[in-house]
Amino acid sequence: MPVKILIPTPLRSFVGGASEVNVEGPTVGAALRSLVEQHGQLKKHLYAEDGKLRSFVNVYVNDEDVRYLSQGDTKLAETDVVSIVPSVAGGAGPPTTRPAATPATATPLPLSAEEIRRYSRHLIMPEVGLQGQVKLKQASVLLIGAGGLGSPLSLYLAAAGVGRIGIVDFDVVDESNLQRQIIHGTSDVGRPKLESARARLREVNPLITIETYETRLTSENAIELFRTYDVVADGTDNFPTRYLVNDACVLTGKPNVYGSIFRFEGQASVFATEGGPCYRCLYPEPPPAGLVPSCAEGGVLGVLPGIVGTIQAAEVIKLILGVGNPLIGRLLLFDALAMTFRTLKLRKDPRCPVCGPDATIRKPIDYEAFCGIEPELLNGAGELELGPAELKSMMDRREDFVLLDVREPQEWDISRLPGATLIPLSRLPYALGELSTADPIVAYCRSGIRSRKALQILQDNGFRKLRNLTGGINGWAETVDPSVPRY
């Protein structure tokens, strides 16, 4: 009577690479003897010199360890499958104790006793249960960004027992992140975000696998990376990456669990599912470069990514479990000031260039160019740059120029340069009358980006004697006057 024996990976090279071998034998013992007769090299790995199975060789019939059956005398029926299952042992020192016998547990469950204890509040819910928890364990989720949204996302997904979590990020922890990026702590400042995230997640749940990719997500690496995950969650803070994540999700067929935040408001949705709309169906074109400020420029309420990232985590878990109504075809809008949630219906755009029937985008494109971030900004931008030290000596020489601060009033309250005039960038186009084309103007902002945009506006309106303070007031604080607070 033929019986099938499943061969574990480490022994396959001794049976010609096969994962299973058919042998004859009425009992487990006889079947194994017939296996080593056919494949002689297996013998020394399975049996010790005294002719007994080695201590680390375990034999199962179907899902039962034969230790709890009749050992080698366990009878076999034709449909039975015999598996050779390794246990692993080793260690550095002298043998003070023998390795333990396998604990006498009941039928092996797909979750260990430890996992059952850990996830018990899931297991007792009918919507999750053992089956759902196993789904979570077998699932893999890729998180783009270990920042404001990535913090709650990764913490909750790890705690929930998602078996494999990948994180893409290349940033280091900055003091200004700590107000909202709760996966990182004060002692992590200066450390790569992935390192500190990994350490924290390991502490939250040591039973899962965490994969980290310390790299920028690019058109070159996105597709390959996304392929090995079930779900992608977007926690990015910029438009080029957001479009890249969307397109790569559509192209690889992975759901894109999207979230975004600004000041007091957040959005969430689930894009790129089969038949559902994608991010491009909602926003075919990015906003003009510079119109929508990033968190670094516009600020964000620290708790906001906590709320939106947690919504994303809930959506990811629902997708994995296959329960409830995910935010497919719906855009959730959250306003923390009004404390309201609204949902807008979204439709799939039949003309969508990536998910429509006549899609023209077949692979990731150049997203920086698509979002207008190429340096079309300003003629001879390099020549307009003015270093902080240079500005300092201009001030010391009492040169005649207008020092223009284009930040917002609340930033002005934090720090300012002596003799500066405040005209926020948003008001500048309407305040040109307050400036004279005759005066040399040095513009500054927090980091030197918005002031460049200000110079563009001025240049377009006939101003010529323009300079931009490189690195903004933070650069000034760093190199000229450390008493000015950096933010």
């Binding site: 790995h45 246990s87 080793g90 604990p103």
Partner: protein, 139 residues
């Protein structure tokens, strides 16, 4: 040759430091080709040795089956086992050899006074009489 990405090395080192003075252990999950293995991630095991966990690790077949099923579900394989040697060099002991499976890569991390130090990889010779060192690449 076995390739273990830097992130995975860091994970193993963190586990080795975290479990000190006890030994940590886990499955290396990845892909294998002819004379070549590439690790994608780890599946940590709880050290189930009833005592002397500073000198010994033991992982039962159920935990192994779970790790294997998990790897298979992702189209991967268990390609090796890692464990730490607290305050002991990163080379296999006699006990390691006696309990070793062929083909697997045995990655050993030495942890000195709680701080992870050297990491090596070994493969059992077919004769079971020795471990051969294996080239460990950490891109």
């Amino acid at each position: 040759m076995i390739r273990v990405p830097k992130g995975v090395v860091e994970e193993i080192r963190a586990q080795g430091a975290g479990s000190y003075p006890e030994e940590c252990c886990g499955a290396l999950v990845g892909r294998a080709g002819e004379g070549f293995k590439s690790v994608v991630g780890t599946r940590p095991f709880l050290n189930r040795n009833p005592d002397s966990r500073e000198r010994r690790y033991y992982v039962g077949p159920d935990a192994y089956r779970e790790a294997e099923a998990w790897a298979r579900a992702q189209g991967l394989d268990v390609v090796g086992i890692y464990h730490s040697h607290p305050d002991h060099p990163a080379r296999p002991s006699e006990f390691d050899r006696e309990h070793a499976w062929p083909w697997y890569s045995y990655v050993i991390l030495s942890v000195e006074k709680g701080t992870p130090s050297s990491m090596t990889s070994w493969v059992l010779a077919d004769e079971r009489d020795r471990f051969d060192p294996e080239e460990l690449e950490c891109p």
